[in-house]
Symmetry: C2
Subunit: 319 residues, 2 copies
Amino acid sequence: MFIGVDLGGTNIAVGIVDDRCRLKLQKSKLTRRQRQPEAIIKDIIELISEVIKDYGITKEEIKAVGIGIPGLFNPDTGEVIQCVNLNWKDVQLKEPMEKAFGIPTFIDNDATLAGLAEYEAGAMKNKKSGVFITLGTGVGGGVIIDGKIHTGFNGVASEIGHMIVGENYYDCNCGRNGCLETFASSTALINYTKKLMKEEKKETIITKIIDENIDKLDGKVIFEAAFKEDEIANQAVDRMVKYLATGIVNIVSVIDPEIFVIGGGLSKAGEFLLDKIRREATKNKYYRTLSIGKIVLAELGNEAGIIGAAMLGKHCINM
Amino acid sequence: MFIGVDLGGTNIAVGIVDDRCRLKLQKSKLTRRQRQPEAIIKDIIELISEVIKDYGITKEEIKAVGIGIPGLFNPDTGEVIQCVNLNWKDVQLKEPMEKAFGIPTFIDNDATLAGLAEYEAGAMKNKKSGVFITLGTGVGGGVIIDGKIHTGFNGVASEIGHMIVGENYYDCNCGRNGCLETFASSTALINYTKKLMKEEKKETIITKIIDENIDKLDGKVIFEAAFKEDEIANQAVDRMVKYLATGIVNIVSVIDPEIFVIGGGLSKAGEFLLDKIRREATKNKYYRTLSIGKIVLAELGNEAGIIGAAMLGKHCINM
């Protein structure tokens, strides 16, 4: 058995996963990210103790703990380098976890681990190479090459949200301009829709859907309006898709994977979004006649984070 | 012994390379690319016969023939998919080669093979992962992951010249806008320098170096002027470097290799260029405090093409 921890900006979710990627039991609580890292780490430890107890096993039956974090981890030091959403910087995470349970603990980026879950048990199963792209508050990635997650020499691979794909009207949190994340995240989509609603002075059904309360504007609303052929919504979605397709074709130009898997909140727009992405990516191939990797939706839902984290543990102890 | 063939837009170069990457003998002739593919293939076959004869061995001693082409190859069909510079499209190359000598023949992109040569005997030696970037008429790439050249699922990986890194004032040959090649190739550098000379109305020593003959303008001249602190030349070089650094950091965001190796004609500008690239890439990291791969100059010169092609043969028959 393995423990998988999905540490998010909103929730901490912990689960027990068996050798065959099946999530057996899951518990979660609010992250309350304004707290100190120590308080959050204490909650993770408590949740792990609870799932072990509730599932009725001993901690000796747990082979490894895996943790997905919304940021970057340094395996050499055991420290979380940075999690912008949690306001963490240089936080020791591996040590307190291993001290608490005496179980080997492994940590990696959450999008990378969701990619690993899709590889082990979802849309990338039996593929040799693939890239998982998560479209949420930010844009994250998980690169699988030859059946292994690829974190790179300095641990900063799979950070495809920070690939520069054009010039944008606002800067990225990372301080640069043109990052994929500023075009293709839900934050970017909402931001650009607001801009259009203000500047274009066109009728849009969005106003009605959100009861004229702009705070209610989210990715779901925009896709609902786009699906109903609303002009403003489609303009915003098409711009998002254009740059996402550029990002996909850029990835092709480096590693040309067998498959792209689209996950995260915006992927709930399903085939409507996927069709647009496929059309735009096909239009943007640099060699028009050649094939590029298949583009599909993620198969695992929210539990991808826990399963991927657990599978990280499995991969690491088997290495 | 292995035969390496470097099929370029200007020259066909053929050499004999031993198991330890040493080029023993080399012959070349002009490609005369306006000719039919059959005539060029005939020349390759003749050159191979000549080097075998001149080196005084029999063809039975040759274990494999490797050919680097300035374009894309489909290993499933044995056909060259496209070589824009040679005006080749769907040309069968493997079959006539194997028919002529009865020796297994392997073909790949020339920049990819130059990268393989740097991995086997040059700047990437003993590195686990690296990306070779050639700055010539176009921009090519060779991606090495886990000690293997990475050509991707559809054979279009390592085509980093077609990674989109911004918006440009002219389109790429591939029909799109913003490809790295349109910013960082010698063609792009020359093109932009001409534009500046026309529009900026500034004094520049370039005019003197080229005897007021704009046809003499090339990468070497521009770097010579930039080194002498000419404003126009530095403006052009800095723009080129800015986008090249964006391309490098984009590659980091996908695969984060251990090393980047800069080759091709423009790399003759040496440390002057390298310093600028390193400075700009460091400035452009998305996580400021983190390391990115080393950036160095290619160690092999023109012979990288032949050596890499020969090593392709070695890799393939050992697989």
